[in-house]
Amino acid sequence: MTVPAIELKGISKAFGPVQANKDISISVAPGTIHGIIGENGAGKSTLMSILYGFYKADKGEIWINGTKTDIPDSQAAIASGIGMVFQHFKLVENFTVLENIVLGAEDGGMLAPSLAKARKELKALEEEYELFVDPDKRIDEIGVGRQQRVEILKALYRKAEILILDEPTGVLTPSEADQLFRILHRLREEGKTIILITHKLREIMEATDTVSVMRRGQMTATVKTAETSPQELAELMVGRKVLLQVDKVPAQPGKPILEIENLRVVDEAGVERVKGIDLTVRAGEIVGIAGVAGNGQSELLEVLGGMRPGQGTIRLNGTPLALSGHGSDGQARRAQGIAHVPEDRQREGLIMDFHAWENVAFGYHRDPAYKRGLFMDNAALRADTERKIEKFDVRPPNAWLTAKNFSGGNQQKIVVAREIERNPDLLLVGQPTRGVDIGAIEFIHKQIVALRDQGKAILLVSVELEEIFSLSDRIAVMFDGHIMGERLPHETDEKELGLLMAGVAGEAA
């Protein structure tokens, strides 16, 4: 048997009372792609941070190519041939590609010889792995797909033999993701060992040779990818049977609830973000808006939710809504019957330092039910919060915890509970399951479908195509402020949507 490229033996790491990693052992053969899958908070990132020298393990050993190795800092990890591509790129935006690659791996005190050497070596790497980027472009001039290549090149330039990628496809379009996987396969052919961390089952199935599943800080299984199924992996991740597909009956669309005509949105910098779109959402249907982040979806949601002004016409139940000035703020929108689960729950949905029960009041703090004379009826508000916490299975069920002390999934449940329980005519949902674990995703999806079945209109914005497909009754694709086309989920596929998302117009827009 060959010597494993990486072998972890009994790694444990605790943060205070929380056991993030518990007795984890794993062995990765050289020249393979090894997936690590698990829910948020399962301890994947902690484990990789230990491997890259960010944290020190409380217990356990790291063996690299058959040698026991200490990794006290990133420098040591790099010296051991480990390269890491983080989920959030670690690039200096106003430096050139070349400068970013050289940073920290210079030869000598002068810059010029280092840059010249890197330029030459970069050319060789580009040809060897088909990783093309212009070395003289600045990072803020190139797209995220290219930026990720720079991260990979950075690792290769440091002679990395083992490459760790943390949630690499989160920011990529489907076609960019496919390109990434081609690059990874190419790297494997050249003998590199790759660890791919993700929570997306599809990527594991497509790209990896073996896969390890983590749950609550423990490694629950390591299997050959060819011998497993998405269903089995999902069960291993969550520890029980999960519905990967949302169970729902066909939609029965009724009268139009939301009608948008020629909506335009100009942002603070004077850039037109939404360039005249038309869209209708009917009672009893979920309309999903697909698109790569930053193509106007956020601005659309924000206008509808009363967070920024726009121009054009929006009608709710046939009544035109104010798009700026009086009657266009978030509170007015809620009074008009629009509830909003914003895209970024930590910045727009919750105040992280406030208690759960205080967060439940936001947007509805003038509700007479929460009022006693001139004051807030905090007791009534807390009772209401406890009821919502129970109904939405928020854990831990404690209204006195501050928002930041809940996990991502439970934070989102608090926001969803606050908005859905108001029984709105229209529910706006932005990225409802970003950073949310599978169990909570399942629950939140069910609640959204249940609201639809009560005959409410739902507008969903998500960058996760899987989510768009499983929830939507109708899909609209946004690119560069335009709606590129509308499709029915059973009449289209990821490839077609991917093209629309990249701005390639379909036949019937």
Partner: protein
């Protein structure tokens, strides 16, 4: 010809007055390029001005005075570093504290040591930086145009003036041509990139803050032992803040910093030279002229800078994230 003589004189004092600004401005440049905002330039200069004057007065050696000034400034730098890098405190508050500390401490110690109402004894002889005369300065003085420019404008300044202006190309070279400069600029923009590349963020930032301390120390010593002959209370007179304004005006670039400091120096020189201006019967009082550099600082910053984008990670303590 009379106009020309006046011009040379004004420009000559521009250079003298721009020197402390330039040193402080470059000091701030190193610190802020590394992501550590420093509004304590003023305090460091003041502390250095006092200690350099005090040591020079007692020992009679201006060089020992300079060392003492740099040392005092470095101690305040270390304080700022520990507060804002090690303990990740608020950089503005730390800077304000340093300014207050310097302002109070200098007068207090001065009074206790010298009993002259919070000043040091006047410096003379070896206790001051003397002007350096270039070769043939005297002989060339009589030559038209060239003469005054060479012997008055270029020659006849103290060594610290030449040090300050040589620091400009040196800083440019360090920043854009060396490994240290690349890392320094990177740590001010995205410390996480530096950290994951295996370079110490804390080490780089302390290095930058230390350079800042040395330059502020030279600036303070220049004020007390070259520009003037001894320390007086609050003698920095807001120069640390004008240097910060110049730094923003220059958008954190060394050559631009020099031009900005020369501009502010020119304003001060004009204010000094033309105390009461008679404009067709209306006399502009001396106070207006004295206030002019400060007023123009506000006007320039408010109106003419355009969009000055500071180093992206400036002011933010670095916390390691997964």
């Amino acid at each position: 010809m009379e106009f020309f003589v006046t011009l040379v004189q004004v420009l000559d004092s521009t250079i003298r007055l721009a020197t402390p600004l330039l040193l402080a401005c470059l000091a701030g440049l190193y610190s802020e390029r590394a992501g550590i905002f420093d509004i304590g330039l003023e305090g460091k200069m003041l502390m250095s001005a006092f200690f350099s004057a005090a040591v020079a007065a007692v020992t009679g050696s201006v060089w020992l005075g300079l060392m003492a000034g740099i040392g005092a400034s470095l101690i305040l730098s270390a304080l700022h570093g520990v507060a804002s890098i090690t303990f990740r405190g608020n950089q503005l508050i730390s800077g304000v504290a340093i300014n207050f500390l310097a302002s109070g401490l200098t007068v207090l110690i001065a009074q206790s040591w010298f009993q002259q109402g919070g000043r040091t004894p006047s410096l003379f002889g070896g206790g001051r930086f003397e002007p350096i005369s270039f070769p043939f300065a005297e002989a060339l003085d009589a030559a038209p145009i060239i003469g005054p420019v060479y012997s008055e404008l270029l020659s006849g300044h103290s060594i610290l003036v030449y040090v300050a202006f040589l620091m400009v190309p040196l800083t440019w070279w360090v920043l854009y041509r060396t490994r240290f400069g690349l890392r320094l600029r990177a740590v001010g923009e995205n410390p996480a990139a530096v950290d994951t590349a295996g370079v110490s963020v804390v080490g780089l930032r302390f290095a930058a803050v230390a350079i800042c301390g040395v330059l502020c120390g030279i600036a303070g010593a220049y004020l007390a032992t070259a520009l003037q002959a001894g320390f007086v209370k609050e003698m920095t007179a807001g120069r640390g803040f004008i240097a910060l304004a110049a730094l923003i005006f220059a958008k954190w670039r060394p050559w631009h910093a020099m031009w900005a400091c020369l501009l502010f120096g020119l304003l001060q020189a004009i204010a000094l030279r033309f105390q009461n201006i008679d404009l067709g019967g209306i006399i502009i009082p001396v106070q207006v002229m004295d206030a002019l550099p400060y007023i123009l600082t506000v006007v320039i910053l408010a109106g003419f800078v355009g969009k000055a984008i500071p180093p992206r990670a400036g002011g933010e303590p670095y916390v390691k994230e997964r």
